[in-house]
Amino acid sequence: MTIPWLTALMVLPLVGSLVTLVLPRSRPTVIKSWALIVALATLGLTIAMALQFQADAAAPFQFTESYPWIPALGISYSVGVDGIGLVLVALATVLVPVVIVSGWNDVDDSATKGYFGLLLVLEALMVGVFSATDVFLFYVFFEVMLIPVYFLIGRFGGPGRARAAVKFLLYSLVGGLLMLAALIGLYVVSAQVLGQGTFDFLSLVGLDIDPNMQKVLFLGFFIAFAIKAPLWPFHTWLPDAAKEATPATAILLIGVLDKVGTFGMIRYLLPIFPAASEFYAPLVIALAVIGILYGALVALGQTDMKRLFAYSSMSHFGFIVLGIFVFTLQGGSGSTVYMLAHGLSTAAVFITAGYLMQRNGGSSLISSYGGVNKVAPVLAGFFLFAAMSSLALPGLASFVGEFLVLIGTFIRYWWVAAIATIGIVITAAYALRLYQKVATGPTAPSLEGTRDIGAREIVPLAVVAVLTVAIGLFPGPVLEVVNPAVERTLEVVGVPAPDIPQAGVNGGEAP
């Protein structure tokens, strides 16, 4: 009998979340400890599963399960992961315990139950969205995920949280409903082509859909993913949500959930709508490059730390999308590594920002900080690390992703890569300026006598830092897992690789 790994990964946090409901409200520590145990157990299960993963397997998906769900509509509960899915599932299950520990004291005791319960629900849904192999199931996770995030932002965030939560929900629903229309359209088309409608991903791949129809359906999915990712000009909800949410919510939202957008592009858009993907590629690449530059420039002008990180993420998402739509192995693999790396660097920046804000009366205004390195050198050190991770310092994970994306872009359109590189320069500028203003110079009066971070606060940061460095120095294993999935996707798209000789990068295998 095979173990239903992925279902277990969803059921475990879900059951854990239900148990928090019956834990006594008056004992917040018990609730938090329980949430942490569940999250760690889920992580352990993920590691056990990942060790079984065969990178060179012939089957597109591993750990597959499939049961009919609504047979009347050709809908099944089907899960399974390829390399890309596995990496993102792992990212989600790593970050949940990290944010639970780093956000240990983020909410009042009375709200502990709801907060940690919702985090666990979210974890289950994140695993689901990256492992669904039925497009309908994917959509269900995609939409249902909004609800815990909506509550996480709206109940536990800053003063403008209700507004930010509604803005987030409505933007996401706009995308979600357009995707629903396209999804139903896809179903109707599949019924016309196959005789029987289906939502099964593998049956939809390579389905002979009329190119004009593809272009219409592509847009429905694309807008949903572009809002999620977020791509310029669909990004305006992100800064608000990032600013108002607690650090833990922001990390899961930007670090993991927004990856659903880019994941959806590489997993669903490219293989199901190859002709439309090729048709729209110039447009998408243009939006991605605009996003890279616009996000970086606006980040440069931010006075609020969290908004700065939001815009910087937008710039990084531009890179990820760019890598996907140049249709090269380096680009696709680079994007996937970048998704992972960006999740880690988002965790680093928002955790350190959260620690800083806790020490400064909850203010996220950059101007209210200064000289942190004198009063809290360890915190300042990690803050520097986070900034470096964000600007993709060589040796860190984000460098691998960014570099591969740029190579992948260069061999297809060298001038696009050249423009995108400007974004890197601006990124360096705002990241270093931020560090300089916050950590160096005279210590701000409000920070006088503040204590440095303790062991509980260091552990999650250390975990993130170790992973960032490890992937940065030894990206080989990750690329080995990711490359076959990307190759398979590109085969379906069928855009021939450019003739420029390609070299293996950082241990990655040459195609």
């Binding site: 609504i70 509509l73 959509y139 939409e143 509604v166 409505l170 629903l180 139903i184 109707v188």
Partner: protein, 512 residues
């Protein structure tokens, strides 16, 4: 013209559900007249619940029967059985809400003497004496009878009779609220006058159709359409006027003006019943008329119905945003929901019929649940229906607020709720009928609607409760049960819709 009217052949078994409810309603009237005051409530409760449950049991027992009864006047086919089943189940839940007597300190939701002038000495005395009436029960049962007959009627006259049997008691019930009686009486009057107009439209349309087809029976009209191709003025006028009459009952734009006032003024259990059951019956009847009688000219009415469906979705959603009263907001939301159902109806296909039936089940129970919650949030003057008064409800009564949030999410069409499956089916039917624009407008309306559904959640969960906010009354077993059923149906139909989809699929098509 010396034909002898034939004695109708009647097989009573398939009609038994309607006969049971009719008998209970008649006995209920007699009880009101002759039974001593104290005995009335127990008898009425037994009659109401007993007849509804017995009717449902008979319906299930006879559900395999497909026949035309009473010389073709009534047709028992798959969709009719499904629709009658939905009506009965909703009626049972509504009866639970109507029977509630612990919420209002003065007794129940109904006026101690409906005929007394609001604010008069007469009224004051009756209230002071603590009179509680049970006249609502026979009225309610008669209305249920009309609803059972409405979607099963197979000719225009029987349909008209059913329409009136359904509507007349509702006009009265709308005016019987204990609190805010002026509002309630205004609602009743408005409903009655506009309802009377719409009935007249329907009747006039029936006359014109008779002029065209020479018959009022649906299969006969369908045959006449094949025999005389092309559109005549009589036919177009007849169909249009019948359509107006029915769309009025459904509350479709532009015949929706009465909905917010009536929903707001009526006693909340009655509002719940009206919002849910009338729509089921009226949409069922509309589908029968359109599909069976006028199916031959579907290309002519389909476009008009697309337009009405789109308008209904959009207007309902847009106007709901600006509402500050929860009952009015729910009224506009129910208009918008009717629009979504009409999208399914106008697909004019088997998929469209199935989608509309599923949506009606989903919508019916969710709506009952929302109004059940409304009836529980009260302050000293009765129900606290200002949305601003609901602030912080999630802190004070997390379970109740969570129930309401689930209903809001279902109405907004979030996956894993019944509303999503309904919306999915409706859009699928519409896309299969190539109505891309309508689906896009539906998406747009859904987004607009999501805004005000989300706003309620914001108010309940993300804001602090006011100092002198309303309290949530602990409901009796009846309302708790009604609420539990509504939540259960909303969630289960969202997660495991397959059995119900099978049931609807087996029901098949209208008998022509």
């Amino acid at each position: 013209m010396n034909e002898v009217m034939p004695t109708p052949q009647i097989d009573y078994l398939p009609l038994l559900p309607m006969i049971i409810v009719a008998a209970a309603a008649v006995i209920g009237v007699i009880v009101e007249a002759f039974a001593p005051r104290r005995a009335r409530r127990p008898i009425q409760l037994v009659l109401a619940f007993g007849s509804l449950i017995a009717a449902f049991a008979t319906l299930v027992w006879q559900s395999g029967v497909r026949s035309t009864e009473v010389e073709g006047a009534v047709v028992i086919d798959g969709p009719a059985v499904i629709l009658q089943g939905i009506v009965l189940l909703i009626a049972i839940v509504a009866a639970l809400l109507i029977s509630e007597r612990t919420l209002d300190p003065a007794g129940d939701s109904f006026a101690p003497r409906a005929s007394a002038l609001p604010g008069s000495e007469d009224e004051r005395q009756f209230t002071a004496r603590g009179y509680l009436q049970t006249e609502v029960w026979p009225l309610f049962l008669f209305s249920v009878l009309g609803m059972l007959l409405f979607p099963a009627a197979n000719n225009l006259l029987v349909m008209f009779v059913a329409l009136e049997v359904m509507s007349l008691p509702l006009y009265l019930l709308a005016g019987m609220a204990r609190r805010r009686r002026l509002l309630s009486q205004e609602a009743a009057l408005k409903y009655f006058i506009l309802g009377a107009f719409s009935s007249a439209f329907f009747l006039f349309g029936a006359a014109l159709t008779y002029g065209f087809a020479g018959t009022i029976e649906f299969p006969g009209i369908a045959a006449a359409l094949t025999a005389q191709p092309g559109l005549s003025a009589l036919l177009v006028g007849g169909l249009a006027l019948i359509g107006v009459g029915m769309l009025f009952k459904i509350g479709a734009v532009p015949f929706h003006q009465w909905v917010p006032d009536v929903y707001q003024g009526s006693p909340t259990p009655i509002t719940a019943f009206m919002a849910a059951a009338v729509k089921v019956a009226a949409i069922g009847a509309l589908m029968r008329v359109l599909y069976v009688a006028f199916g031959g000219i579907r290309w002519d009415w389909q476009f008009m119905l697309w337009v009405i469906a789109a308008l209904t979705m959009l207007v309902g959603s847009i106007v709901a945003i600006s509402q500050s009263d929860i009952k009015r907001m729910l009224a506009y939301s129910s208009i918008a929901q009717a629009g979504f159902i009409l999208v399914g109806v106008s697909a004019a296909s088997q998929a469209g019929l199935d989608a509309a039936l599923f949506y009606l089940i989903a919508y019916g129970f969710t709506t009952m649940g929302t109004f059940a919650v409304v009836s529980l949030v009260r302050d000293s003057t009765g129900e606290a229906t200002k949305i601003s008064q609901w602030a912080g409800l999630g802190r004070k009564s997390p379970i109740l607020a969570t129930c309401f949030a689930i209903f809001m999410l279902a109405l907004a069409g979030i996956p894993l709720t019944s509303g999503f499956v309904g919306k999915f089916l409706v859009f699928e039917a519409a896309l299969a009928a190539d109505a891309v624009v309508v689906v896009l407008l539906g998406v747009l309306a859904s987004i607009i609607a999501a805004f005000f559904y989300a706003r309620i959640i914001v108010v309940m969960f993300f804001s602090d409760p006011p100092e002198d906010g309303p309290s949530v009354v602990i409901p009796s077993a009846a309302t708790t049960l009604a609420l539990a059923i509504s939540v259960a149906v909303t969630v289960i139909l969202g997660i495991l819709p397959q059995p119900v989809l099978d049931l609807i699929e087996q029901a098949g098509v209208f008998l022509g």
